[in-house]
Subunit: 350 residues, 2 copies
């Protein structure tokens, strides 16, 4: 490790935000030495409660996240935010009022907000986002929000990699819910119908509850909102057999993020979910699954870097382009040739 | 290649749909021999016009795709459909009426519909989808629709890998459009405001046109719908310098897929776009970019298979789990160990 990075880590350990910001930039952009930094901070990762916030564009994810940040700050907690949504006010993409609110939050010393601008080079945005959350975790933020525009699979994956995943919808999302139900149901720990003062909010909440029941194979009952469902069959949320808290009942909450209505109830549901994760043993399983995933993603990234950058795969591909374009070679033949160069080379161990 | 696969290819060459269906299954699931099959059919790939259909859930992508299929069938064209959207009626996820319509289409001998059920094993859904489209292309379908729920990046990537990408919105997508504009603008060749009989359709079409202008850095003008924009600065659509057709003006169309209104105009726009791709030289560039991408994706898939399956990476990871869980090893150390096994091994060349 360079002397510069060692100095950075000392400042990081001393709780200095400029060092945090600098390390996050190095990690986000996979700059030289990023891996060593992640490796050094890794033993301190895992204490934070990670909350994924996802939902269709326009559902009010950023406003609700800001409301939650304000709520937790009032409780004296330190809060980190990683925003992947390109439309997020955190990235400057939204209304002026929202931006001002976010900027005010960001001035608070107990808050750190980072929007992911790039897609990462060889690891991809999903991996970089999780690594930035790791850095925030190691720095000592107790609560970390990861906000993604959650309709696509990779975005859903990022949110689902959190301890608790909140799926935010609005009354107008009716069609979307029907459409997305499979993926959303598997990812969500808490449903929120935001903008609950709009027409159709009650109906949507009721439909979500019914959908949860249907999905779980139970008889359709006329259940009130806030009633949950048996999730024994949903892998991620299945508790260890010895535990008595085998079931997390997915609540369907209603909020008006603009006014803060329903935010304390959402925070309370998050606390309950975290307590359940701990008591049921699910948090340990989640943590292990994340470690396994991280190894796999890091291996992929190393292999890509090895083949394309270090071993001249890119040059070989460039040389093959005329043959490819003329139909004298297929992509599968060229790929086999490039993979063949791994044969004669040794990837660096460090 | 096995005798069974050789027989399959003979039937495939003779235009027999059961062979097509069987080969697609082998490719989709990356069954043994899938790579040889793709390699053999590859020289016949590239004649079809590939059309990506994407947009938020509930926009009517499937209904519009079905309407387009019906339209092209009436013109005597053979049409293939690959649906990635898990909510698609092609996958049985939607209303009964839609499903019946799709089933009727599927009975037509000039139509082949495939919904992608799995995520692929080591290549991922995006790669498998493109390979299934390749097989349909090689079989001789002149028009291939790839339908994805296009809000997430990977879904957008799949649609954007087509020759022509149609982004479908509904009047209610207002918020979404603001939110998604960067990704959508870069991916789209044609915008469609579907359900154009609903309130706000005209306004949304107008806003889209204005957004296109803003994005291109031009002064905001009060332009009518159907007016296009200068796209010289959009990479994908930039024509070769010697060509005079340097600009594709992205049309903003309005349709009512349920009744078929606007479908002939959309088909006409697709024809114009295809003609432009050819005359401008952009189609050649697109084709070369796709070949390059395919090599990269195939290399990644081979490396993953090599490390995880053939060289015991999975076993090494499993053995490291206790150390990982106990914090005695970081994911980065374990990944370095697994990458190290590539050192002592030779990937198969074939």
């Amino acid at each position: 490790m360079t002397a510069e990075h060692q100095a950075l880590l000392r400042d990081f350990d001393a709780g200095r935000k400029p060092a945090l910001s600098r390390i996050i930039s190095i990690v986000e952009n996979e700059r030289p030495g990023f891996r060593e930094l992640l490796d050094v901070v890794h033993p301190r990762v895992g204490r934070a409660h990670r909350v994924g916030i996802t939902g269709p564009p326009g559902a009010g994810k950023s406003t609700l996240t800001a409301a939650l940040v304000t709520y937790y700050r009032a409780r004296g907690e330190r809060v980190g935010v990683v925003a992947v949504d390109p439309s997020s006010p955190f990235t400057g993409g939204a209304l002026l009022g929202d931006r001002i609110r976010m900027n005010e939050l960001a001035l608070d010393d107990g808050v750190f907000i980072r929007s992911m601008a790039t897609r990462g080079s060889l690891g991809g945005l999903a991996l970089s986002t999780k690594e930035v959350a790791d850095v925030l975790d190691a720095f000592g933020f107790g609560r970390i929000f990861v906000e993604t525009v959650g309709v696509g699979q990779s975005e859903l994956d990022v949110a689902a990699a959190a301890d608790s995943t909140v799926v935010i919808l609005v009354p107008e999302s009716g069609d979307s819910v029907q459409a997305m139900k499979a993926g959303l149901l598997e990812a969500s720990d808490i449903f929120v119908v935001n903008k609950a003062d709009r027409p159709g909010a009650e109906r949507m909440a009721r439909e979500l509850v019914q959908m949860l029941h249907l999905r779980m194979g139970k008889a359709l009952r006329n259940v009130p909102a806030h009633h949950g469902v048996d999730l024994r069959r949903v892998g991620k949320r299945e508790a260890a057999p010895e535990s008595r808290d085998t079931v997390w009942e997915i609540p369907v909450l209603q909020t008006i993020a603009e006014t803060g209505r329903g935010v304390p109830e959402l925070a309370e549901a998050l606390d309950r979910h975290l307590a359940w994760l701990d008591s049921s043993g699910v948090r340990t399983s989640l943590r292990q699954a994340r470690l396994t995933d991280r190894v796999k993603e890091e291996v992929d990234r190393r292999l890509r870097r090895h083949v394309w950058l270090e071993q001249g795969g890119q040059a070989l591909l460039d040389a093959a382009l005329p043959d490819l374009a003329a139909g004298r070679a297929t992509p599968y033949e060229v790929a086999a040739r490039i993979v063949g160069i791994v044969e004669s080379s040794v990837p660096p161990a460090g």
